[in-house]
Symmetry: C2
Subunit: 88 residues, 2 copies
Amino acid sequence: MSIFGLFRRRSTAPVARDRLQVLLSHERAVIGKSDLIATLQEEILAVIAKHIKVDRDAVQIKLERGDNFSTLEIDVEVPSLAKTNKAA
Amino acid sequence: MSIFGLFRRRSTAPVARDRLQVLLSHERAVIGKSDLIATLQEEILAVIAKHIKVDRDAVQIKLERGDNFSTLEIDVEVPSLAKTNKAA
């Protein structure tokens, strides 16, 4: 790629990549109780992996925990959904 | 409750309610292909329902579809996670 290629920002998407983002937020009325978000994380990832080829190394997960507010961000990039495989 | 009670905003949370929000966004590199979000919607709801008592009527779902960008918002309110039931 020439240096000029840097200025062309995937106009025709040579590598077609889909992006799936999941954002969970859990606001607890009672402080400090249960950790639903962490529980859901693995199961939601499993649900996604059932439908698209997910490379675990290409998944970015950001979990933030507070006393009564937690957020989880899951960021999945997939080469395209041509590779969709319904394993269910 | 006296009228003064209106000014006290759930200081002691008389009805403790947890709130779980799930936000999905799917950006497709190839326009119009597949509808991953709609597929994931039911399965993610099922995962949540495994862990908390979800009243389907109390679930708000907002799905927005575009040619190459879709978003799904799931909003669940639960009376508190004291009622957490691990059915798995």
